[in-house]
Symmetry: C2
Subunit: 467 residues, 2 copies
């Protein structure tokens, strides 16, 4: 436990009110551990401001005494970027959950940074719109956190990641200055794209307090399919992954409304069926499964049936109403909890040019069979249309990062990214210099220095503390 | 004429070769005036490096003696951002015109910054792809310049502006450091989005030397229509613009393959027909025309015919092969040269929430009728699907900016952007503080300072020299 500067404690209490300035360890504990249980640290306290003005006042007060701050949303991050490490103050944004009526004419939705994705989705749906972004943590993940990590999810294939969904942002800098770019114009080439720069900056440049999201009209028809695939043994690499890549490429050509193409492999399918008590999937002996989703203003049933007449497709279950669609999605979405039931997972989120994905997956299986403890579980799944694989390894102790290093080394050797959508956080900080050139890291550090010269915003995330 | 430091002159000659280091006024003159003739300045010389290494060497040499530099591509910019002002060295990137084979599997095309848009389009087309970006200056505009200005054009409606088309970039900083982010991954959340930050930075942060562009498959069918509209007199605002906004919104709902919706108004139509000798358009007495384009993997003819059965549509000419399609596009694309034939135009590129566009256009006509010299011509056209209007005014002297100020003041009063796609350059520099808050400008200046602490890259563009 770290102790807060008493004067700062009084100031913060005056700003946010006593009920929202938590200084006792039993109150701050839930904010100090990430949900996987892998990242935990100590804090001097937790403040929960009610609005942007309070956020600015908190940052100004902290800046005066050099108190470092960790912004936190729904605490669903996977790289330890939203939990304190060594006495930082936790700035919880969850009370900034304002939610405006969707603006159908301009096609945007304005919401506070603490609004959950699910709440924003519900507001959009009530007006006949969608957000074009969706992920399994929707009930807890907040919009501000999703901006901070440039969250991806299952619809990136069609609608892009959070950076593409963001029409505007309001943020507060370390010195308490508020910048609003909330006009929501499609075109606005007036100086640097600060909005885009804040996306994916992991709370190290400024604190996001409000967002403007682009809306897409709710499609008239949406069809989901769970498709069992034969292994593509004639291709290089892991046969199930190779089949998924091949079939997804064919689906993209023939289904303009393709929104999602999610990969499940046999180890994950077996685990999720057992853990969640799901019935046997189509083609139970398949080398891989795809969860695909097509949305269109025209009925895509025939097009989808034609596209699924592919030599690698063994069998498919198709659903076009909400209950049955959810039951198909469960095979993919309940992976995370099923994996956590085995122990604390090492989670690595890597991406490749599509042509390299199967080769990486094959090399990964070989190398881990050699290096991992025999009782380990390797479960891979992911967003195959984006070349994005989520590698989950349960077995090694949470603090043992040797196998994480192995996975990331293998990723770079295959021309991949060490973080597709989760960010760098503290988990992959040591790898930044492997993934980016020295000149690139130097440019990023200059940007950091320009926004946060005293290093008070999320220190130890993205960069080493010393830099 | 400004004179170069003799030692720097020798160094630059040694780097790029005598033939590509132009120091005589008769050789440098073409680089010192923009193509509208409105912006002209003096230079100490023009260097034309052959590759990235030479660019880095030039910037290093200039940095040593504090010689400011203006990067220049095809010199088709409209805000004076690519021509020297007061003795800057012109760094012409046109010799960096390398062009790789399109990578169909990854869906990307690698090209030097000096490659023209037309050359890149041709390379993509030969492999069955398009770039998803197109604009009338395609034969001269270079990819690097299009990155620097976040160029828009006629397909933003469907494929976004240059920022959305860019999968990777290589750039050189003022101190000669080279950063490459050319992996072309769909997802890569490894630190700050420097690629996106450089887009639209107008040569003030770094010099773009190479780009990786996203490809889209060439659609199987493409249909163009020139559509004459009745004035939407029941709506608020300029009746032709209101009709174009209303019809475009309807087309977007019913034509998923809609790629372009371009507005022409009677004054522009009359001028372009006369100047370019074009035949009378459909519905010659229309209040406005739309050039619309639909591309799809399925034949969109019937869908388009159904969508055009709108009460505001008077008549339409439709074309589905290249020659006839070009003849319809000529009405829109020959506007620029037709306007220039009247004199040196004041060009203002403004954007609005769609619901405000017609009101702005009406107010503009009223205010200019009052304030402009009687012999002036006001020609507005633009990308109506993006809320983007190009305001052209011929009549006032090139250096008389009072009416520019009137247009921009009116733009801000209607909640619009003072630069939709052309950038700030020198033309709108004085307006930056009206369009962005003091805190916002301060953040941008910090970014500028982080990349270019000595202010050597494009001084006088975006910010005042003093800042």
């Amino acid at each position: 436990v770290a102790t807060i500067d008493p004067r700062l404690g009084r100031e913060l209490t005056a700003i946010v009110g006593e009920a929202h300035c938590l200084l006792e360890p039993e109150l701050t504990a839930p904010y100090c551990t990430d949900w996987t249980g892998r990242f935990r640290g100590k804090t001097t306290g937790v403040v929960r401001p009610a609005d942007t003005a309070e956020v600015a006042a908190v940052l100004t007060a902290c800046g005066r005494v050099g108190q470092p701050v960790v912004p936190q949303g729904g605490n669903t991050g996977l790289v330890g970027g939203g939990v304190p490490r060594d006495g930082e103050l936790v700035l919880s944004l969850r009370r900034l959950h304002s939610l405006a009526e969707p603006d159908g004419e301009a096609g945007v939705l304005q919401a506070g940074a603490g609004t959950t994705l699910a709440a924003a989705q519900a507001a959009a749906a009530a007006a006949g719109f969608e957000l074009g972004i969706d992920l399994a943590a929707r009930d807890s993940a907040t919009l501000g956190g999703m901006v901070a990590t440039n969250a991806g999810g299952i619809h990136v294939l069609r609608h892009g990641p959070m950076r593409a969904r963001l029409a505007g942002v309001e943020a507060v800098s370390a010195d308490g200055q508020i910048v609003r770019r909330m006009d929501g114009l499609v075109k606005d080439n007036v100086g640097y794209d600060l909005t885009g720069l804040l996306v994916g900056s992991e709370g190290t440049l400024a604190v996001v307090t409000e967002v403007l999201l682009r809306l897409v009209p709710t499609p008239e028809r949406r069809i989901t399919a769970l498709v069992g695939l034969a292994g593509a043994t004639e291709h290089e690499g892991q046969p199930g992954v190779a089949a998924a890549v091949t079939v997804t490429a064919a689906l993209r050509r023939h289904l303009p409304g393709l929104e999602a193409a999610e990969l499940i492999l046999p180890a994950g399918m077996e685990l999720v069926c057992r853990h969640a008590g799901l019935p046997r999937p189509p083609a139970p002996e398949a080398a891989a499964w795809l969860v695909i989703e097509v949305a269109d203003s025209r009925d895509p049933t025939e097009e989808m049936a034609a596209a699924l007449e592919h030599p690698l497709v063994l069998d498919a279950a198709v659903a076009d109403s909400e209950g049955p669609r959810s039951r198909l999605w469960a095979y993919r979405e309940r992976h995370t909890e099923a994996i956590s039931s085995l122990g604390v997972p090492h989670k690595l989120d890597v991406a490749f040019p599509l042509g390299r994905l199967a080769a990486f997956a094959a090399a990964l299986e070989v190398e881990l069979a050699r290096a991992a403890p025999p009782e380990s579980h390797l479960i891979c799944f992911g967003h195959v249309g984006d070349g994005n694989l989520h590698v989950n390894l349960v077995g090694p102790a949470p603090e043992d990062t040797r196998l994480d290093d192995l996975v990331l080394r293998l990723t770079l050797a295959h021309g991949g990214s060490i973080s597709a959508e989760h960010g760098i956080g503290q988990a992959k900080r040591a790898w930044l210099h492997q993934a980016r050139s020295a000149a690139d890291v130097a440019w990023m550090q200059r940007v950091k220095g320009a926004f946060d010269p005293d290093g008070l915003l999320n220190p130890g995330v993205l960069f080493d503390r010393s830099t």
